[in-house]
Amino acid sequence: MKVLLSWLQEFAPFPSDDPVALGDVMSDLGMAVESIERIGEGLDGIVTVKVLELRKHPDADKIQLVDVDLGDGEALQICCGATNLTVGDVVPLATLGTTMPDGMEIARRKMRGEWSNGMLCSGRELALGEDHSGIYILDPSLALGTPIVEALGITPDVLFDLEINPNRPDAMSVAGVARDLAARLGLPFAIPVPTVEELAGDAGSIASVDIIDPDLCGLFHIRVIEGIKVEPSPRWISDRLTALGMRPINNVVDASNYVMLELGQPNHTYDLATVPGGALRVRWAHDGETITTLDGIERTLTGGRDGVITDASDSAIGIAGVMGGASTEISETTTTVLLECAWWQPMAIARSSKFMGLRSEASARFERGVDPAIVDLAARRLAELLAPSGARLVQGSVSADGDLSVTPAVRVRTKRVNQLLGTEIATEQIVSLLTPIGFVCSATDEVEVLSVTVPTFRPDTTNETDVIEEIARHYGYSKIVGRAPTSAHTGSLTPIQRDRRSIRQVLVGRGIHEAMPLPFLAPGDLARCGLPAEAVTVTNPLAAEESILRTSLRPGLLRAIAYNESHRTDGVSLFELGKVFALPAHGETLPDEREHLAVALAGCDARAAANIWALLAQTLGLNDVGIDQSAPPAGLHPGRSGVLRRGGEQLGEIGEIDPGVLDALGLRERVAWLQLDLGVALAAPHGEHRYHHISRYPSSDLDLAFEVDNAVAAASIEAAVRSAAGPLLVTVNLFDVFRGHPVPDGRRSLAYRLRLQAPDRTLTDEDIGGVQRSVVEALIPLGATLRG
């Protein structure tokens, strides 16, 4: 919402000397000032000149040389990029030394070898509007050399651009902003009473309205204005509309918009001649009903969602609260206007304008809730504005009521106010804060309890808390003294939050970078990664690339690796901790949402992933997790991948990306892969690192090499060694793997070093021999033979 200082001053005597301070007060009241523009300032040094001659620039296509006369008959050369000039035009020139409204200083300078002795200005450069398509052409009768402020009759003013919150329908008008501001500043506020001479007659015999659906329209008020002469508005009206961002059209439409901006009451003007019998009806639209709106577009309406105003024959001539119809539009031949000031059900207008994709200044106000008490004031104000053109308001009005609820008085407890705000505001102070903004406070039988009647222009305020917010706003948020927290509560991370930090530390320490690809996928992304295509889809994505929720972290990380490869960064190591989404489990509404960890190591084979896994398993204290290579997971290298398994539970997948997938994604390097379902992995107790007594007696090492079939996993050999070695075993390490002569094809040699130690004595040769015998024996069923 934009407001002009001069307009605000019509309602209260605001000072003109410090607009910034005034803006600070508006911000503090919750009407945040987004910008302050000083109109007519910074235009010193800009004068009227006449175009004498237009010449081609010898060295530039897009610049013209313009000779202008400042009134002294001398030709002054200006370089100008605009093309809308003709000889004889009177235009504004920023002379040398001028500082423009945007701060730019005008100096004599050469443009492509030609001197420019100033700058011809567009409307936007003069801060007189948005037009920047060409130079601002002035009235040719103006005396040359006249300062532009004088030539245009510009009155200095200040334009505030305010951000209005949705719960402030009152602040969607100049008068409403003025009321709030005056209240805070302790200035008297009043809406001037329009002085309108009413024409004898009876509007009731000219027009009528029938509200068919009272749940759509709470109040429909009609006045009739005769003697309309459609012509341009007076300058002061069109200037104010322009300043507030509305385009002047003609005096009738402009007056209508002016009243809406000033009082917050949107209204609609019908050419009475186009409304048979002046009879209007108000009802919900029929499904498929069509209407051509003022903007010339034919729109199809939805039953029960959109409201319409129809004529006596039941044809729609306007969309309720959103936009009028073309058939009853004001035209040059209009002589009598039927003026509608209505109150529409806010939710209905919100729905209608949202789903129709049609937002107007009117709908923006109706959907917040306008003031039903000012419909006639608005009509009379509009008539007052049109009076100079000869228009006269016909006596009498037509009014029909629909469902219009009245907010009951609100019980406001002083104790509650102070409890919620942490203040010590007295009841009398509450009264003096609320009264200037139209809230009527009266005492009740209860002590320190007020009965507060909310003004009709604050439909958002319906309960005690709403009123407390108003009290706080006018008391001043900045005056509420913060109470430092003295909480007796303790905070800490949850176990999974701590585990996440450990995981990240380990991976970062291994040189792996954390990435966060977007969780959206394009159709085909999953299939390209060799993964099943079933996934949750987005109903209203902005792009196809964002139409699917990932079921795996793999497409995102692989895409990031491809991105790095394409920028000549090879061997990239990335990890991600993030959510993946599978279709809901049976009977569930929400997706099966899980947190995964994934690690992708470009330029590494599957063993790198296994090493990272070993590190993570150690860190998290995840024991008893095996790598099951019997059924390779989808999208991973069939000979170099497996499932991380703890008993019957699947914790994740490990290995290397399938070469076919690498090809499909255009990846040059192999990629080692690890993924872990954190929820599953961390659900069971883990991370209990219990102390083991360290023996004081010497340890002995026993090296054993076995010949084993390739098909037998080293992990199962090691497991067998561990269980057979018994309590004397401290550690077991695979220290050599060998394939080739003399080991037969299909088999390899695995060499383990067992460190043995007893807690209570030095080991004997018999002890060590005993361990060796049990281990060798235990490995026989696995087809492992001790090498000599």
Binding site: L29, G30, A32, N165, R168, R351, E367, Q419, L420, L421, G422, T423, T465, I468, E469, A472, R473, Y477, S478, I480, V481, G482, P485, H489, T490, G491, L493, T494, Q497, R504, V508, G509, E514, A515, M516, L518, P519, F520, V536, T537, V538, T539, N540, L542, L549, G556, L557, R559, A560, Y563, N564, T569, F575, G578, K579, F581, T589, L590, P591, E593
Partner: protein
């Protein structure tokens, strides 16, 4: 025998001095004092002497042995020192002549900011709550006092997913549904923050992403007031941004809080003096906050007369960008290692 001892002891210093390495010295030591060394052999021959001669020979032997051991120790020390010196000389390394330097990975900027924020709030007694990213309309909107067709829904451009009835399941537009879950699943007093990933139907540009991160806070207890909110945010502001940065609250509107406020802090770049980043205002808008709306409390089964609370929230990505001077949010999400490695931790 005494003569033999004297001869050996007399010759020993020359032998010891002639040894030119620790190994040679070890051989000399073996010849003199070893199991088959000369002195050892003489000692074995002492049995044939009379007691008096044995006593005298024993004393001489001990004396010779001690002097030889002392000489050996001195020589060994010299030789070891010389050998170590020559070894050290040959082992010289140029520590800047490195072929493969190990690389540290990096935590994502969002994670770094997340952890930093969470640490401050834990210090203030808050616990850390999380929730699903795909939510029902109830948790994301209805329970937060934003009924369907409420004009305020326009404040969030929502992405819906094809589950359940149309427009009933969505990608959460804020972390506020976690507040509802915390209040529904637990009991006051509640002191919790909710960091998390959120979604908006937004086209990516230098300052927007369809996916970004927020942190919200929620306190529900007896007699919690707006003054507590202001004090908590002020304490957080100086703890996170530094003691010279302060906060202010301005009236605002959110359906789920009342009174509602905008939460501003002194511009961290100019400390409130006015600069380009803060548009010369000296303030940066950080987020929104307010007293939990009575309807929200009622929706989760809490009596607003008994319990009151406040909530606040702000974007996390912007803090990350601000701290490191990154001018395009999209850089954080490409996975480009040239970006990630700039911020190890």
């Amino acid at each position: 025998m005494i003569d033999d001892i004297t001869r050996i002891a007399g010759a020993a210093p020359v032998l010891i001095a002639d040894a030119s390495s620790v190994d040679e010295l070890r051989a000399v030591e073996a010849d003199l004092l070893g199991k088959k060394g000369e002195l050892t052999l003489l000692k074995k021959g002492m049995g044939g002497l009379d007691p008096e001669g044995r006593k005298a020979a024993g004393a001489a032997l001990n004396e010779a042995r001690e002097s030889i051991e002392a000489a050996l120790a001195v020589r060994r020390n010299d030789l070891e020192r010389a050998e170590r010196a020559s070894m050290v000389a040959t082992e010289q390394l140029d520590l800047t002549e490195l072929l493969e330097t190990p690389e540290r990975g990096s935590l994502h900027l969002v994670t770094q900011t997340w952890d930093r924020l969470v640490d401050v709030f834990i210090g203030m007694g808050f616990s850390v709550a999380e929730g699903p990213e795909v939510e029902t309309d109830w948790y994301n909107f209805e329970a937060l006092n934003i009924p369907a067709a409420h004009p305020a829904r326009g404040m969030w451009d929502t992405l819906y997913v094809d589950l359940g009835d149309p427009e009933t399941v969505l990608l959460r537009t804020h972390t506020s549904p976690v507040q509802i879950r915390v209040m529904t699943d637990g009991e006051p007093p509640i002191y919790a923050v909710m960091p998390g990933r959120v979604y908006r139907r937004d086209t990516a540009d230098a300052s927007h992403m369809p996916v970004f991160h927020q942190i919200e806070g929620l306190v529900v207890d007896r007699n919690i007031s707006f003054a507590d909110l202001a004090g908590t945010l002020e304490a957080f502001t100086s703890a996170y941004f530094g003691g010279s940065i302060h906060s202010r609250l301005r009236p605002s509107y959110f359906p789920f809080t009342e009174p509602s406020a905008e939460y501003d802090i002194n511009c961290v770049f100019c400390e409130g003096n006015g600069c380009r980043t803060c548009g010369q205002t000296g303030w940066l808008e950080l987020g929104g906050c307010g007293m939990v709306h009575p309807t929200v409390l009622t929706n989760v089964g809490l009596d607003p007369e008994e319990w009151s609370g406040f909530a606040f929230g702000f974007g996390l990505d912007r803090l990350a960008l601000m701290r490191h001077g990154v001018d395009d949010i999209r850089e954080m999400y490409t996975g480009d290692v040239r970006f990630l490695e700039q911020f190890p931790s």
